[in-house]
Symmetry: D2
Subunit: 352 residues, 4 copies
Amino acid sequence: MSYKKRTRDYGVIIGELPTGKQNLITDVDGVTVGQVTLDDGEIQTGVSAILPHQGNLFQEKVMGASHIINGFGKTIGTVQLDELGTIEAPIVLTNTLSVGTAASAVIDYTLQNNEEVGRTTGTVNPVAGECNDMVLNDIRKQSITKRHVLSAIKNASSHFEEGSVGAGRGMLCYSLKGGVGSSSRLIELPHGTYTLGVYAVSNFGTLKDLTINGRAVGRTLTSILKEKRESEKGSIMLIAATDLPLTERQLKRILKRSVVGLTRTGSIISNGSGDIVIGFSTAVRIPHEHPDSLLHFSCLHEEDMDLAFRAIGEASEEAVLNSLFTATHIIGRNQHDRPTLSALLEKYEINL
Amino acid sequence: MSYKKRTRDYGVIIGELPTGKQNLITDVDGVTVGQVTLDDGEIQTGVSAILPHQGNLFQEKVMGASHIINGFGKTIGTVQLDELGTIEAPIVLTNTLSVGTAASAVIDYTLQNNEEVGRTTGTVNPVAGECNDMVLNDIRKQSITKRHVLSAIKNASSHFEEGSVGAGRGMLCYSLKGGVGSSSRLIELPHGTYTLGVYAVSNFGTLKDLTINGRAVGRTLTSILKEKRESEKGSIMLIAATDLPLTERQLKRILKRSVVGLTRTGSIISNGSGDIVIGFSTAVRIPHEHPDSLLHFSCLHEEDMDLAFRAIGEASEEAVLNSLFTATHIIGRNQHDRPTLSALLEKYEINL
Amino acid sequence: MSYKKRTRDYGVIIGELPTGKQNLITDVDGVTVGQVTLDDGEIQTGVSAILPHQGNLFQEKVMGASHIINGFGKTIGTVQLDELGTIEAPIVLTNTLSVGTAASAVIDYTLQNNEEVGRTTGTVNPVAGECNDMVLNDIRKQSITKRHVLSAIKNASSHFEEGSVGAGRGMLCYSLKGGVGSSSRLIELPHGTYTLGVYAVSNFGTLKDLTINGRAVGRTLTSILKEKRESEKGSIMLIAATDLPLTERQLKRILKRSVVGLTRTGSIISNGSGDIVIGFSTAVRIPHEHPDSLLHFSCLHEEDMDLAFRAIGEASEEAVLNSLFTATHIIGRNQHDRPTLSALLEKYEINL
Amino acid sequence: MSYKKRTRDYGVIIGELPTGKQNLITDVDGVTVGQVTLDDGEIQTGVSAILPHQGNLFQEKVMGASHIINGFGKTIGTVQLDELGTIEAPIVLTNTLSVGTAASAVIDYTLQNNEEVGRTTGTVNPVAGECNDMVLNDIRKQSITKRHVLSAIKNASSHFEEGSVGAGRGMLCYSLKGGVGSSSRLIELPHGTYTLGVYAVSNFGTLKDLTINGRAVGRTLTSILKEKRESEKGSIMLIAATDLPLTERQLKRILKRSVVGLTRTGSIISNGSGDIVIGFSTAVRIPHEHPDSLLHFSCLHEEDMDLAFRAIGEASEEAVLNSLFTATHIIGRNQHDRPTLSALLEKYEINL
């Protein structure tokens, strides 16, 4: 993969907290991301998989939570996630009509790795999210197969590409080409330095609303392009990872602050946009097997939360912007396409 | 199908409200139920589909809501259901590991009937629930295919069988054979007579807790059978239908009262039991197409709600009991089986 | 106080778990209850205060949570309780129109004991609940003063009376005299024996629905008394205490199961009944002061939760019944009164 | 009252929608606001009352809802508001330690106007919110009396002042003087033009984060003032009014979007900030008395919601900014004060 210029390469610095080493979700130790991209004429779609750690997730769960910013979305798995507060399988993202397939594939993955599931122990809760890529992708074809999902899980790594790849392949954002973006922040507290990272699949917003670090770039572009108003459809999936020691309540509080980043890029959280956040902390592992003892964990004092709140706001904002800056041009279904932000900035000589 | 004795045939009258004509969820005008049963040695499972009306559900949605009594379950579709308050496709129930397949099948069904989905309009929100039938069914085989689901939708009718059929095929309840049960109640208000019906797939509880109309039948049976304590796993799915004119808030308030019936059969709402209620009102149809006008509704004055609360409690209790009374004996995976309630009552000459 | 016969004195044993030593909420180590009763002609009302421990609650908070079974109630303090998961002051219960006064008094109490509140640190979150005692009490008089509340807090003890006392003074339950009841259960787990207790102020239900351990006593009494149907108004406040080590999510899961006990006494969770549960765990103390370190906790493995679920269901059921059995006859506003359960059982020679 | 320059007077135009006539919450027909200000040395506090219409609110309720952005707050009345979806009394805002008094005063107000409350019908649900003004006000004195609250209700009018008045008297916002601000938007739909207005009491944020229409004014001021970082405490109360015909679910969806405006002024929704929204629609009146008939209402098609979402985001942002621009300098407890935004802009010649 060739290097793609990211937000900071344009001189745009979001917020005040330091980023992790790669400025990616995988700066959180143990987290990996796998992406499979389908690029075949009318088929422009893909799968992303986020793995909280490299062990057996079903046997050693991580603490998880969800937050629904706007529920016009088909994310699977939130009922149990909210009740039990655990992630026990890779989180998968794909296009809307393939979300059932994604869930089935995660079930397969878990069955393959855990012979006792469905025999001597219960079943697994697949968590799968989606955005609708129907403009660029022939979504009715439901081209994603279980094999694609399993492949994304298998190829997960601490390095991964942003832009028009994985689940972000066919996505649009602010009427431009959207896709995958990621960012991370370091949280320095007296008892340690922690990392929080966000992985975004961006597929929401109207051009006129696009805001880059406070600047109304969308309004400028709208007047240049004489773009008529498009209705605001589409969605955003945000996956947040951290190694902060937290209770589920604290994790959920953090997830809620992702909206700060979202709105600062210009979102009005429109009706048709399924804006959903799934998050986890890797600080403890919760054993599937029932021990004879209590579980022991640590958490932040509530007054330490503000840095984490700031971190997820900044990382969410920068992840969305990274998805826009790194998106590459593709031509999809019915020759549809959308300009990329980088091309427009260059063409109209807009400096940020 | 041969006639199976139901709760009332044993002289057990639950509550005080009159039942609908069939004492089934399909007493609510327009509602139909389809069931496909797989009975093949180690494969003892099935699918149930509930259709709120006979028109195009995507084009003419009904008001819907969900309530999570206990979220240890994998039900799909609640995120959007809670946000938008609409059901726009048949509700499907099946075994836990087939819930992704169920969602995919509902997507197929909607695509087949709506050419504009994924083209000129958005996508569809499949609602699919599940219970875990792994004791009697080889659930790891994931035997349910999209064809089974589509067949359940297609054969939906206002008449349907209870017992060891459809999604209830392999289910256990109170350590006995569980399955499908249904019941309905009439709600007489000054402005009209309304109907509320419940469809249950029962798969929860421990024998010692079984209570029939206040009577501790489970304790009696436990002492006769010298049954050791089994851990309480399994779940219950409840689908509630009504023609009451309601707001979504009111519908949700009604769904919450299904717990009254559940606990009166003996449930302690145990950890491992995903106890989930999906409900809808057929009183209005919400057009998918965006009109130029407002939508017009009616709803109950809040003081009229008590009869609806009583109705869902009674119907939920009786639906669970009907599932137990009508369950037929089956031998499943590894020769596992569970006694039926009717057989035990007869064998030990227990009168209710 | 003279001894009043409680549920078990009538030979009625609710559930299967052992009770704590006193079968009261105060069996949870450190918990105390204070009650002030106003008995003056038309004024028949009172205050109850529940203290989670005997130290400075503002400085050393306990983990807390709430659950709204039915929100037709005016309980104060749940917004912050749900967000932060802490109880930082005595919990106060009283009549509906005095709930503002109760909150003000808890603020006074906290100011008196914490000079820094409102100076160098923030404010306090008072938690106050209520039921409506307007039939027996001239509620419009708002007779409860801050002094009554402070007195209830001051006289809190590990021994306390049940029946027509404290916040339960003027309450009705199942059209009989209601009031204060309490009960507790022991939870034996491999890593220790824990206690869970419930304190109820009962003020809900219609006579015909009263059920005692499965027996339809209300129906019997209705036919004897030829009692016309009364509409179901009134509410129930349940306070649950435990020393179980839990996360806030787990505590909330436990609180939700109080509905099991409630419905088994006959409740249909009627529209006009504010059925609200506030609970806390004393297992850890959360310091108000911000330390430089993490907080350390223990919690149950989720599979250990079932015993806690069973415990709160049983204790809630028995607490409500205890309130009925121990209620004494009072004559209130406009010479209104309600029969006591104990008197009716004796008069009509009903054995349980 | 002398005219105070508002946001638009500085050439700052928030968003794209037209404002109502006064650009105040009272542009929604029938809505009035009353404010009482206490200005007496160490006592710098006040009360605000918002009345949804001029009739008897208890007899003719309006549809209401709440949304908790961050629950570190002591708002009273949300339990019943969320359950029943109605506002039945004036909404009152004041300082944190006076919230119990505010509730008691609203109870008094309702008793005075409704003889049957607490006699032949139930009680009233007071809704009262708060922010902590302890820096400028001697909050421990609890200077607000029921008389102040009743006076605010009584003097409510469709004209009212912004700035350091009413509940906003002692508030701080972004380390500057905060207070009361308001704004409104028109929503033009095919079936009519509707109005949505917001009333804010602003008391949150850190100077460095202050953003005015995308411009990082706070960072500029921080570097000029060499202001050290203050911890982010304080809260914001937002009251939203509209005449849009809605269901409670739709109203709640709209309230959730107030966060868009909040974050655009720079909020990171910090831990210590109780950010709470209460809203209502005046489109229907819900009778307290139980009629023999159904209630009839209208609501928006969901696709019409985006304009309402945009409106509340814009009005919330501008209401917060208006509170900052119109705030006047006051000296309070211990000679504490905070600069006003208008003074700083003038002094340092910052053009917006």
